[in-house]
């Protein structure tokens, strides 16, 4: 490795910096530095080196605060902010070619780290909350989701007309889940927790009980907060999950089962304006979709 690489490790990793101070020969060996390069590293002012390392860590924390603000608030409430420091001390983001922003990746890395720290109920809530925020962040930064949401916006009038025209054929449509939608299952009621924290209210994390929780995140560029989370019932969640590939509403209703058929139809109708499903074709059947993707035009928004 080069001298520059060694310097980067010294800045990113506290242990390497400590080794440079206590066991410099080990650093020299590990990075394959010659004597001149080693004396360069050793000549660096330790205080300024530590300061620069702290600035790098501070930037990392800023990126996590930007992407996972509610999780950070919850960490404070639970008096577990030290997890942030432990995280930035124990890891660093690797270079990814073409990357233009480190923030989303830092948020992913930190969320993964929280998953590894799950040892009690509070830590499980925290890692669920981070998953919740991450789903929103990913969707907000997804070009594919934006393009889909944009098309829906552009075709809004046409869509409304089609919805009205086909409302009675709700069990015979070909649909697909829009790319502007993400479905997530949580083990805790993190949506309530998220909303409480967003309102700036104090709360105990343990108040948010362990319960299977389904959320549909929808990107809507007309909203100020472009990602809207919807609480979703288990049956509807399963129905929507089935539509990640194009399918018929008849198949969706079959998932709900005969006992829930009317509920499922109501759920489909009830959410006509939430832009979750994209209409593909009327009179659905295995061949109705056709072979090309060109028909995946979001001409009709359906329901949840």
């Amino acid at each position: 490795m080069s001298l520059q690489a060694a310097l980067a490790f010294v800045l990113a990793n506290d242990q390497t910096r400590e080794k440079l101070r206590d066991r410099p020969l080990e650093v020299q060996r590990n990075f394959g530095l010659d004597d001149e390069e080693m004396s360069f590293l050793l000549s660096l002012d330790p205080k300024r080196l530590a300061l620069s390392a702290a600035i790098c860590k501070g930037r990392r924390l800023d990126r996590i605060r930007w992407g996972l603000p509610a999780t950070i608030t919850a960490l404070k409430l639970a008096q577990r902010e030290s997890l942030l420091n432990t995280f930035v001390r124990a890891s660093w983001p690797e270079v990814k070619l073409g990357e233009t922003s480190l923030a989303p990746r830092e948020c992913h890395l930190f969320t993964n780290y929280l998953h590894t720290c799950e040892h009690d109920e509070i830590s499980a809530v925290l890692s669920n909350l981070a998953d919740f925020e991450l789903a929103q962040l990913d969707l907000s930064l997804s070009c594919e989701a934006s393009l889909c949401a944009q098309q829906l916006r552009e075709h809004a009038t046409e869509t409304r007309t089609l919805i009205n025209g086909h409302i009675n054929k709700i069990d015979s449509l070909q649909v697909v889940l829009g790319k502007h939608v993400q479905l997530k299952r949580f083990n805790y009621d993190v949506m309530s927790l998220y909303q409480t924290l967003r309102r700036g209210l104090q709360c105990s994390l343990l108040k948010f009980r362990a319960i299977d929780n389904y959320v549909t995140f929808v990107k809507n560029l007309q909203m100020r907060q472009s990602i809207v989370p919807y609480r979703t019932g288990e049956i509807l969640f399963k129905m929507l999950n089935h539509c990640k590939q194009p399918c018929s509403t008849a198949e969706m209703l079959a998932i709900a089962g005969p006992a829930n058929e009317q509920l499922a139809i109501d759920a489909l109708r009830d959410s006509l304006h939430r832009s979750v499903l994209l209409f593909l074709h009327v009179n659905a059947g295995p061949t109705a979709l056709g072979p090309t993707k060109s028909r995946l035009v979001p001409t009709l928004r359906l329901t949840m």
Binding site: M1, S2, L3, Q4, A5, A6, L7, A8, F9, L11, A12, F40, S43, L44, D45, K47, R48, L49, L51, S52, I55, C56, R59, R60, R63, W92, P93, E94, V95, K96, L97, G98, E99, T100, S101, L102, E106, L141, C143, S146, L147, Q150, L221, S226
Partner: protein, 290 residues
């Protein structure tokens, strides 16, 4: 493609001289958006962070196009890492070139530093070892990038807290880079001021030692003292000493085309504070550019 590395001051100066004069502008930040729209007449142009738009996210591009309809816009990057060992990141350069084409910008800029090394993304501007070899390498990459993108590329002097023992002073290093490429300089006067405090040098000696005829753009901002050093926090009004430096360099920078004020934190509730900075910079530059 690497273009010829001639380091001809005459060639580069001729190219820089023909760039449009933009006057005094602001670094665009989301937190300032409303104030900028409400005070459009006070803002001559906007500098946008290139990486915020390089992913091509449709809503971001729509917002950028809205800015473009109202202001001249210059892209300013933070993640090029021109000083990293090895070649430039081709995928990054392709996205950057695409953005610059969309903006139709007269020039673009990034920092004379490294932000990535040894596979680690530091996410922070770090100083380079100031050697002739390093200067040549950076100059070659800068020239290549400028050739690929097709418009002048400016390198910005950074604020640094860790001084690397080097054969050249910072001013000599900058001069050496400029000597070996035809790129321009984005002179951050606040960084000069802050570095002079943290590393104890004379700001006037510094600016007199760099090729001021290559300066196309100037950055102004306000920093803050912390425990051990003065921080380049962009969280305060521009320091009087920095305006003093602007006065000093203004009539020594024949190719100066734009001055921009950066604010990244402690955003003022009203535009008055930024307007004072804008007006002060305008007054100083108006003496020279009318």
């Amino acid at each position: 493609m690497v273009t010829d590395m001639v380091g001809s001051s005459t060639n580069s100066n001729r190219g820089l001289a023909s760039l449009p004069f933009l006057g005094v502008g602001l670094a665009f930040r989301q937190a300032l958006e409303q104030q900028i729209w409400a005070n459009q007449a006070s803002v001559g142009w906007l500098e946008v962070t290139a990486e915020h738009y390089m992913s091509g996210l449709p809503e971001c591009m729509e917002a950028l196009r809205k800015l473009l309809r109202a202001f001249p816009v210059i892209p300013h990057g933070i993640e090029l890492s021109i000083g990293s060992d090895g070649d430039l990141d081709c995928a990054y350069v392709t996205s950057l070139a695409k953005l610059i084409e969309e903006i139709n910008a007269p020039w673009f800029s990034d920092h004379l530093c490294f932000t990535k090394a040894g596979g680690i993304a530091l996410g922070q501007l770090m100083p380079l070892p100031r050697t002739r070899e390093c200067a040549m390498t950076v100059a070659r990459k800068a020239q290549s990038l400028q050739g690929e993108v097709g418009i002048p590329f400016l390198l910005e002097n950074i604020a640094y807290y860790l001084d690397l023992p080097s054969e050249l002073s910072e001013a000599q290093f900058i001069s050496e880079v400029m000597e070996h490429c035809e790129c321009g300089l984005l002179l951050d006067l606040t960084n000069v001021f802050i570095n002079s405090l943290n590393h104890r040098f004379d700001t006037l000696v510094f600016v007199d030692s760099i090729p001021l005829e290559r300066v196309v753009q100037i950055h102004l901002a306000g920093g803050e003292p912390s425990q051990a050093v003065f921080m380049d926090s962009h969280s305060a009004p521009v320091h009087e000493e920095v305006f003093g430096l602007l006065r000093y360099v203004s009539d020594r920078t024949p190719n100066l085309k734009g001055i921009s004020i950066e604010r990244d934190g402690n955003f003022p509730a009203s535009f008055c504070e930024l307007e004072c900075d804008l007006e002060a910079a305008q007054k100083i530059s108006a003496v020279l550019y009318g």
